[in-house]
């Protein structure tokens, strides 16, 4: 019954990098892990030729999102964030505040940018090493699944591999398009 180590690792890796899907429905934001163990994944698919048929606004969050102020909860990338915005804690939208470290792993959401009307894969990388930065706290729930689907859950402390796993704030990093 035991599984070999590489399989297990590949499966775990798949979870952390999950969210690969070319479907244009709301389901696109949900990870592909449950479907199967994929071949060793590199990065999300990036299909430029699907650009012409951009999806309609895919979620209630996206319908109200803005693209100008990344220190506010309704900024488009924060459709599935849970925690303190690093942009208000001394960091940036993809930068950790000084004195903290970005988690090399993260969970992945899919957010719709109302400006170019594309959906992007967003890695919510936590910045770790100091206790909570208590500036702007936000909770986006688009596509957030329970922890039995860890790749799509925003309650897990995504601080693996950063030394101490104390959670300070969250970034929202574009890692690909979701088309």
């Amino acid at each position: 019954m035991a599984r070999n180590g590489l399989d297990t690792m590949a499966e775990r890796l798949a979870r952390y990098l999950a969210g690969r899907s070319s479907r244009r429905s709301a389901l696109a934001r949900l990870g592909g892990w449950a479907a199967a163990i994929p071949a060793f994944p590199l990065l999300p698919v990036w299909r430029r030729d699907a650009r012409a048929a951009a999806p309609a606004v895919p979620s209630p969050f996206a319908a109200k999102a803005q693209v100008k102020d990344d220190t506010k909860c309704d900024y488009w990338r924060y459709c599935a964030i849970d925690g303190n915005l690093c942009t208000t804690c001394g960091g940036g939208v993809h930068s950790c505040p000084p004195g903290t470290h970005p988690s090399p792993t993260s969970w992945i959401g899919t957010c719709f940018n109302p400006q170019d009307r594309r959906s992007y894969l967003i890695a919510y990388r936590d910045c770790c090493g100091q206790d909570a930065c208590n500036e702007q706290n936000c909770l986006g729930m688009d596509g957030d699944l329970p922890t039995y689907r860890p790749q799509a859950n925003n309650d897990i402390i995504w601080c693996f591999g950063t030394g101490s796993l104390l959670y300070n704030c969250s970034t929202a990093v574009i890692v690909g398009t979701a088309e």
């Binding site: 297990t8 892990w33 449950a34 209630p60 909570a132 729930m141 596509g143 922890t147």
Partner: protein, 403 residues
């Protein structure tokens, strides 16, 4: 006047001598004339709680803003008084022994606060003195904003289960008699712990199935799987679905409001789901395939609580679209799990992320609000009983006796 640097040991000795002397001096002092109208001198002591009743509950405070200092409060719902507290550091979990003999906290610290060696800890407490009766290091634990089913206890209180996920999904089995972890059971692709009987638990798997683990007399586990009974991408079930650990009865509640009555065991069985909204005379709510539909939906953190004696379920409900499953409830709906009918809708004075209920005849409902109050309602009619103001910072779940 100048002394050079002294050893720390010498200071320590001096300190303890000093302490001992002062204590002796004070405790041998008695007022000479007790008849005099002068207030008596007093000795310091420590409170030992009397045996608790059904309204003495544990409330976990996640203290999100300062999560190193999470804690568990012991609260008397009848007087509204805080009876004591213990540390529950950094995304901790707590479970109470079914017979009330102890309670257990799984917590995590680093030796230098935010750095240094990590300790994943299981601490056991005497519920009347709040003194630690065990304090061991676990092989690890999952660091997740605490959900109740990240930790569980068997029906007879012998095993405590602690969920781990770094890097593989596993459950550490702590033996409360031996005071040590006797087994780690891998549950690949699955998470959370819903206990059944004395030595069994089930986990929810990423494909919508259940993994059922039974341990034999030696603690050796056997795992079985059910077929998938829900589609996680479309309408996942909440982690905080309420259960009765003694008989392995769980009512899994989905984001859209379906209830899957489940009997756990080596062959867990799941009944056909029914809709909370339909039970209330409304239309069944949409799932992720139609996310824009606004209707009453379940949501919150500990969003549901079960009163086993009459099979009544209390669920926090709010009006919203799909993907609002962590929104605080503006109403509390009471449902009869046997008849699948709505008993009552209780509008809340303030939105609540949490509901708990005591199991006794004069049951009490527990809610919270943004200010960290613990709001107590009468379990019979949902009427307000009292508000325990500013009990904590982020009250996330409760544990009532016998639940």
């Amino acid at each position: 006047m100048l002394a050079d640097r002294r050893s720390r040991a010498a200071r320590r000795i001096a300190r303890s001598l000093l302490a001992a002397t002062v204590l002796t001096a004070i405790s041998t002092y008695k007022p000479a004339l007790a008849a005099e109208p002068i207030l008596q001198t007093e000795e310091s002591d420590v409170v030992t709680l009397p045996a608790g009743g059904p309204h003495r509950v544990l409330v976990e405070d996640g203290v999100y803003r300062h999560s190193k200092d999470g804690r568990v409060y012991v609260v008397d719902l009848d007087t509204g008084r805080l009876l004591g507290m213990v540390q529950a550091a950094y995304n901790a979990n707590v479970v109470a022994d079914p017979a009330g003999k102890a309670f257990y906290v799984a917590e995590t610290t680093w030796e230098r606060g935010n750095r240094g060696k990590r300790h994943d800890i299981l601490a056991a407490y005497d519920p009347r003195t709040l003194e630690m009766v065990a304090d061991i290091d676990l092989p690890g634990r999952a660091l997740i904003t605490p959900k109740k089913p990240d930790m569980a206890i068997g029906a007879d209180g012998h095993y405590v289960y602690v969920y781990d996920s770094s890097p593989t999904n596993a459950v550490h089995v702590y033996d409360t008699a031996l005071k040590s972890v006797v087994r780690t059971v891998d549950v690949p692709g699955c998470g959370l712990i819903y206990p059944w009987g004395n030595a069994g638990f089930s986990s929810i798997c990423g494909d919508g199935s259940l993994a059922n683990v039974q341990m034999d007399a030696k603690g050796k586990p056997t795992l079985t799987r059910t077929p998938p009974f829900f589609v996680p991408d479309r309408d996942p079930v909440f982690e905080h679905s309420p259960d009765v650990r003694a008989n392995g009865h769980v009512w899994f509640i989905s984001y859209s409001g379906l209830i899957y009555e489940t009997t756990l065991g080596t062959q867990s069985s799941v009944a056909k789901p029914w809709s909370i909204q339909e039970a209330a005379g409304l239309k069944r709510a949409s799932d992720a395939r139609a996310p824009f539909e606004v209707t009453w939906r379940p949501g919150g953190w500990q969003l549901a609580a079960l009163r086993a004696r009459d099979s009544h379920l209390f669920v926090l409900m709010h009006k919203g679209t799909f993907w609002t499953h962590k929104e605080a409830g503006s109403e509390l709906w009471e449902l009869d799990l046997k008849t699948h009918r709505l008993v009552r809708r209780v509008p809340l004075a303030a939105p609540s992320m949490m509901v708990g209920v005591t199991q006794d005849a004069q049951s009490r409902i527990m809610l919270t609000d943004e200010a960290g109050d613990l709001v107590v309602l009468d379990g019979a009619d949902g009427k307000p009983v009292r508000k325990i103001g500013a009990l904590g910072d982020a009250l996330i779940f409760t544990a009532a006796p016998g639940e």
